[in-house]
Symmetry: C2
Subunit: 507 residues, 2 copies
Amino acid sequence: MANTSEPKRTLAKVSETKLGITVKKSENFSEWFTQVCSESGAQLADVRYGVQGFVVHRPWAMRIARKIYDAFEAEVEADGHEPYLFPTAIPEENLMKEKKHAGFTPNVFWIDYAGSQKLERRIALRPTGEAQIYPMYALWIQSYKDLPWKGYQSRITVFRNEMTTRPFLRGREFMFFETHDVFRTHDDALLQIKKDMEIMERVVSEKMKIPFIFFKRPSWDKFLGADNSFCSDTLNPDGRRNQISSTHDLGQNFAKAFDIKFDDEKRTQSYGWQTCFGPGIWRLIAALIAIHGDDNGLILPVEFAPVQAVIIPILFAGKEESNARVLEACTFAQRVAQDAGLRTHIDLRSDTPGFKFNDWELKGVPLRIEIGPKDVEKKQAVIVRRTDKKKTQVEMKQLGKTLLEEARTVDVEISKRSQNYFKDNTRTAITLQETIQLIETSRGFIKIPWCSTADEGKKCEEIFSKETTGGVICGTPFENEETPKKGMNCVVCGKPAKHIVWVAKSI
Amino acid sequence: MANTSEPKRTLAKVSETKLGITVKKSENFSEWFTQVCSESGAQLADVRYGVQGFVVHRPWAMRIARKIYDAFEAEVEADGHEPYLFPTAIPEENLMKEKKHAGFTPNVFWIDYAGSQKLERRIALRPTGEAQIYPMYALWIQSYKDLPWKGYQSRITVFRNEMTTRPFLRGREFMFFETHDVFRTHDDALLQIKKDMEIMERVVSEKMKIPFIFFKRPSWDKFLGADNSFCSDTLNPDGRRNQISSTHDLGQNFAKAFDIKFDDEKRTQSYGWQTCFGPGIWRLIAALIAIHGDDNGLILPVEFAPVQAVIIPILFAGKEESNARVLEACTFAQRVAQDAGLRTHIDLRSDTPGFKFNDWELKGVPLRIEIGPKDVEKKQAVIVRRTDKKKTQVEMKQLGKTLLEEARTVDVEISKRSQNYFKDNTRTAITLQETIQLIETSRGFIKIPWCSTADEGKKCEEIFSKETTGGVICGTPFENEETPKKGMNCVVCGKPAKHIVWVAKSI
């Protein structure tokens, strides 16, 4: 927990806004999610921008996003990646070079005009970085000494013409983070996939307290141009899987298409082996909202909270002297909290304490410190945890230590809760009938026996998807894949099962 | 100086690259600048991307840019600004709403197609934020209590169809940073302009060691839609002015066009008064390169150097034991330097020390630490300053203290040098003849008597620009404007001078 400065203002002018969420998360998750993001909620996004699928992202979301970016940037740099920035524009011919990857074009936005002048060659808005980055890799990479080559771009946006859009879950322009690596051998590339998984574990599982499985996708659900795709899926409260990262084993496909070659010791040339990795920054914010939040709004893991402890002075009209003492105690408490390494904010707005409690609960600040005249007298403060709203009276001299303990408790609490939810909503089935019933009643992940995750299994998924009205095969876990027991058969075709696959409905 | 981790690698694979700059900065600045940016220089940008005016920005430039962004973000947040992120796309009708601002459209890139489908309403790629941000301000701002309203977006790119392009100086897509503020009164807005100037002074003048003047532009050179524009100009070594920031007094023009109104205490409605501020992130990097660099490459001010002290072990083939001791001493030196708060890197590449010296000099790292077997024996290290390449032998136990002193010396040196250059290249003239001669022989800024910076002075500038083959009126300093002496007349029309204006050629 770095001791960074507090936000100067309250991050949104809410004095005149009616705050609050009018539905229960458990009863109408979709509407709850919309309200949490909106003006009357945590004010994360504004959909009133006026271009379908393009959304304005507001300060509280940006501050959270920044912490997520910081975490991933630190991780990939520690793993040897260097930052770069490519243009938003991609020449059409580059997008077409890798034959399968060219499948992106139907979802691409095209620039045709500069002012009133028609461009000679139209330009695509980047849907993802491969087709822009790899032509440069072909120039930069010459020798085996240059490998492994590890680069990344961060805090950029990409564009895809999605049909249905939703803040943080699916947009036509969304925040992106992508690494692009080149190796001498396929084995080196496979090692990187494991490293990417470990980065996800450290950032998402350990720090964000979001459980997920790192799946190997079935072959019919690979990234366009990849030999294999590995994706992290977490589980929304409506039981739908939310894909929060992808790592692709690109083999030598792009290296051949873009001519990325290196000389080895004997000056013979080989094509590089490539991987790329992208955590979904907005999808991770969606997961934070969806998984940790409750009926009162967000609950943020301590490390990702822009304000970790908000201080609310309890003031009384006309009691100036007493109020001054309360404010003095608040300033003292802030200094103590900051010395303990916490990001703090004193809420000095003219609104009632109740309004402020509500506002900061909506925003998911892990700890609240209340100080009123009686607390000043008793040389104490009241700490309230966002999770269970338990009030604890603390002697001022114990404040720093207690705050850190309470912050830890919030993290442990949301971690336990999210892990339990994930575990409780992972079920098994061995027949299609059973699977359909589970998907309809309980949703979540279901582990089922399956014939094949290679292309020949695709037919079964088509049937499966129809029968389950939209169930998808997430794949098999990258690590600790289960083997089907003897006699287990594919729930669709009845052939002997080669895999236990995880299935779910998708967001 | 924060003690952040070192870059893991050497930021570019240069082993097989021929490094070096083949021209002198003083003899051919333009070619020098191109070479410094290129593959054989500091590897800042790559122009081989394949779409005219769209450039790839490489790790060393991105690391410097990040430090500049960090500095401005910290400043504007301390001044109460909140971060947000708007889409890259702007609806055409919004771009047209403020009549003068609509003048941007001839330079705008247009999205006409999504996949193969023609869009009903074409979308502009943002040339600047006003037309996308202010419609939302109209929704967000309701009451005088909401004011001042201060927001900003950072680490975004904007798009303009520039005719001639140059890395860091002028591009079709460039890194952007913009604040947008709304106030109750024009006086509040004017105060903000002064604050913006002070931010520029703290970041650019004090930290980056780049001198500049904060000008009030003549009325014919205002931002489209502004009542007044205030811009910072620094001076390139070729004597051309480089505009590195702009702050616009937007009056109520955009508030009226976009309906940004607030209720005051008596519930009567008024339009807000607006300002916006944008330091040019790429332009500032251009200034860092151009102003501080020398014939051997960049020289970075200590605070903006991704690596502040690079450690080069001097190793000898076959001397394994001795080499091990040298490497041990390097690791020790790194720890000492890091403890002193410096960002360090040990260069372990297999290249010769000479190659490494060259490489890090090109990149402008302020300090180099050399350690060889003799230094190990004497328990010392050699420190070399990037500025004058003076070698200092330092006892290991004095290393931390000495490094900080030497770093300071580098900063003082480049600061003095850039200030002297700025001062020595600011001249005065009182006739057109004299001005023409100065512009042709010495370039730089020239202070001249001028009739008027209001619209009626525009005719004189047209003549002035023709006579001086491209001289422009930069304006009058925002603070400490000089008054013309009695009897001084406009160098063009001969009418009594109302102002002493600064003129220069522009990049």
